[in-house]
Subunit: 110 residues, 2 copies
Amino acid sequence: MAIKAIKPGKAVRGSTTGRPVMLMLDLLGRRWVLRILWELRGEALNFRALQSACGGLSPSVLNTRLAELREAHLVEQRPDEGYALTASGRELLNHMTPLTIWAESWAKTL
Amino acid sequence: MAIKAIKPGKAVRGSTTGRPVMLMLDLLGRRWVLRILWELRGEALNFRALQSACGGLSPSVLNTRLAELREAHLVEQRPDEGYALTASGRELLNHMTPLTIWAESWAKTL
DNA sequence: TTATATGCTACTGATATCGTAGCAAATCTC
DNA sequence: GAGATTTGCTACGATATCAGTAGCATATAA
């Protein structure tokens, strides 16, 4: 199962420019990615705990996503701790915080 | 083709709590959604222009996404103008701007 | 030695997306 | 007013991705 590499200058789904924002949109647009990052916002979680936190997504998909996120240096695997956000991953998540606040008011309009 | 409704309190993919952030993660995690919002950051685009801006995604998927985004009040269809972000949609996009800046530095680490 | 936890792989069926073709309505063009 | 073009979509078969379950291999615990 080939994992699509995320590298600047490389084409991604729906874009051939390789611009960073397109890389990001491609990666974050994959199913479960945002959720996985979100669930790792606190402490490190091992594989099964993370799987459970994500509502029991299939291990094959989780494993694929973790490989992609590790390749993107957003998540790392720590011995005896499990999976955790890297510094980059935490930065990304911090930038997402305003979004979660926005989501609260947005949801009321639905 | 049933469109999955996005409403507070309703279960979404991977979550049964219906919390706003989960609604948001579900919606934004669907393929092309972030890209579509991104491409609408400037002026309104009609269906084919938007399709083209998104690198020629299939009209069926675009139409599905537009329906979801309209239902979520993030995108609206204006007569003689095409598709455009709503006030909410623009808010969301504004919150995404820091992410695009972050993406620049992140991409360098890959 | 058995039991349990963990990280994963394998497999099958379901769903989502792609890619192309083309239709119906509206608007230009002559 | 008869094409021609543009626009917003729908249909459909092919492919890719995801879901759901089973289970294996290693490690540690009892």
